[in-house]
Amino acid sequence: MFLDVRTIATALLSFLSTACDIPKDPEGTSERIASTHELRVGVTDNPPWVSATHGEPGGIEAELVRKFAKNVQAHVLWTTGSESVLVEALKRHELDVVIGGFEKRTQWSSQAGITQPFAKDADGKKHVFLAAPGENGFILNLDRFLTERQRDSGGAS
């Protein structure tokens, strides 16, 4: 059938979430990125997800971040640090995203926003980004990007 319930439901749902421009960011992250073209990303070394020991950060997650930044027409401002320092900065809205091989059940889930998983590792653990808490429009945007690129990166652990 050309139009089944699922297409209608999907169309309706995506209409709801895009046309109404809801949810918004309480701290205006999306708008800030649109005007400054800067995506502020915290990285903590955790290969193969993120390697941040020297030079520009690399790894699976760093590549994803670059692609996402391109999508929102921004360049990435990298900050290297420990998990706790970066999460603190995230909470103060000094960073937009933090990457470092975080799993869905990360201890930071009560303090930072957790994105949709973009990959599953060999143990079946789902990997996520941390995002500025409560910046729901920005997080939804990131969730859409990550879900599209979700793939089974088996072998990595």
Binding site: L13, P26, S109, E135, N136, T147
Partner: protein, 323 residues
């Protein structure tokens, strides 16, 4: 059967109350499962989940209390087991107060910590939509059936004079109120105001705490044999005055003090009577106390104690301004 108001519809009403209790348990499971699925890693709906978990307590207490209260009196429990329902009522009242207190503390903490609730995307049919839209559906499911369950229980509670059931109805009310508050909160969050979720929860918590506190006070009063109060309105129960008046009208009665206590679903009354004389006193007493259920379907026992003068404490319990 013991422990039931002797009314023709009581038996049917009790069956209905049982069905309602089981239905509530099932319904709570579905609401919790839905909340759990939609919540994912987000903290925003956690408060609602805690409320739903606490709503398991009253229906369980009702079912257990009802079972125990049916037992016949024995040597060890010479007054029977009716107070099991009173105990269940205390537990349900504590649960209700707990729901309110949790909402208040949780909401206030989030406001103080300026915690921005994260409500991100949810993958469905290969698309990612805002979790907030799904949360509306889940919260409607936490609100609408709870509203009707509460109404049905309140009606059954009145017929059965079962306060555990009445408190259970109050928990259902708290559930639909807090779910409605959460919907308002999520709307605010969607519009970019992070604090609306917590503010709505704190405001509704005040109403739930008020109701929980009132139920807890009533339940503790019942256990302390306070003068009975009407089940839902919490106004004074007219039975003690009615009993005193009907006894005082009898020719053989010179004066009377009536004390009524609430024992679960039942009332037990004690009347201290100063008789006019001793002629035929035993017959008079037997006639007056023979059929307490005929006086009030909830009155299980009427004990009449003839005295020459009222003991001091009985005198203190006397109604100063009889209605």
């Amino acid at each position: 059967m013991r422990s039931l108001p002797a009314q023709p519809e009581a038996e049917a009403e009790l069956k209905k109350a049982h069905r309602l209790a089981w239905l509530t348990l099932l319904y709570n499971c579905t609401a919790i499962a839905m909340l759990f699925v939609v919540m994912g890693g987000s903290q925003a709906l956690k408060t609602e989940l805690t409320g739903e978990l606490l709503s398991f307590i009253p229906p369980v207490l009702f079912l257990v209390g009802d079972r125990i209260s049916r037992r016949e009196p024995n040597e060890r429990y010479p007054f029977g087991y009716e107070r099991a329902v009173s105990a269940g009522y205390v537990g349900s009242a504590v649960a209700l107060l707990g729901v309110g207190a949790y909402l208040l503390v949780d909401g206030a903490m989030k406001l103080v910590m300026q915690e921005h609730p994260t409500i991100g995307g949810f993958p469905i049919f290969g698309h990612v939509i805002w979790t907030g839209w799904l949360a509306y559906g889940v919260l409607l499911w936490s609100a609408i059936p709870a509203f009707f369950l509460g109404r049905a229980k309140r009606r059954a509670a009145e017929t059965l004079h079962d306060k555990t059931l009445a408190a259970d109805a109050e928990i259902n009310t708290a559930d639909w109120q807090s779910a409605t508050a959460a919907m308002i909160g999520i709307t605010g969050v969607g519009l970019g105001y992070w604090w609306t979720d917590s503010v709505a929860a704190v405001l509704i918590s005040l109403e739930i705490i008020r109701s929980g506190w009132s139920e807890l006070r009533t339940s503790l009063g019942d256990i302390a044999d306070r003068r009975p109060l009407a089940l839902l309105s919490k106004d004074e129960e007219p039975l003690p005055d009615m009993l005193a008046q009907s006894l005082r009208r009898r020719k053989w009665v010179k004066d009377v003090v009536v004390r009524v206590r609430e024992r679960g679903r039942e009332f037990t009354a004690e009347a201290h009577v100063i008789p006019v004389g001793e002629d035929g006193l035993l017959d008079h007493i037997r006639k007056a106390s023979a059929n307490p259920r005929g006086i009030d379907p909830r009155l299980a026992e009427l004990t009449i104690a003839p005295v020459q003068e009222f003991p001091k404490d009985i005198e203190k319990a006397r109604r100063r301004a009889p209605a």
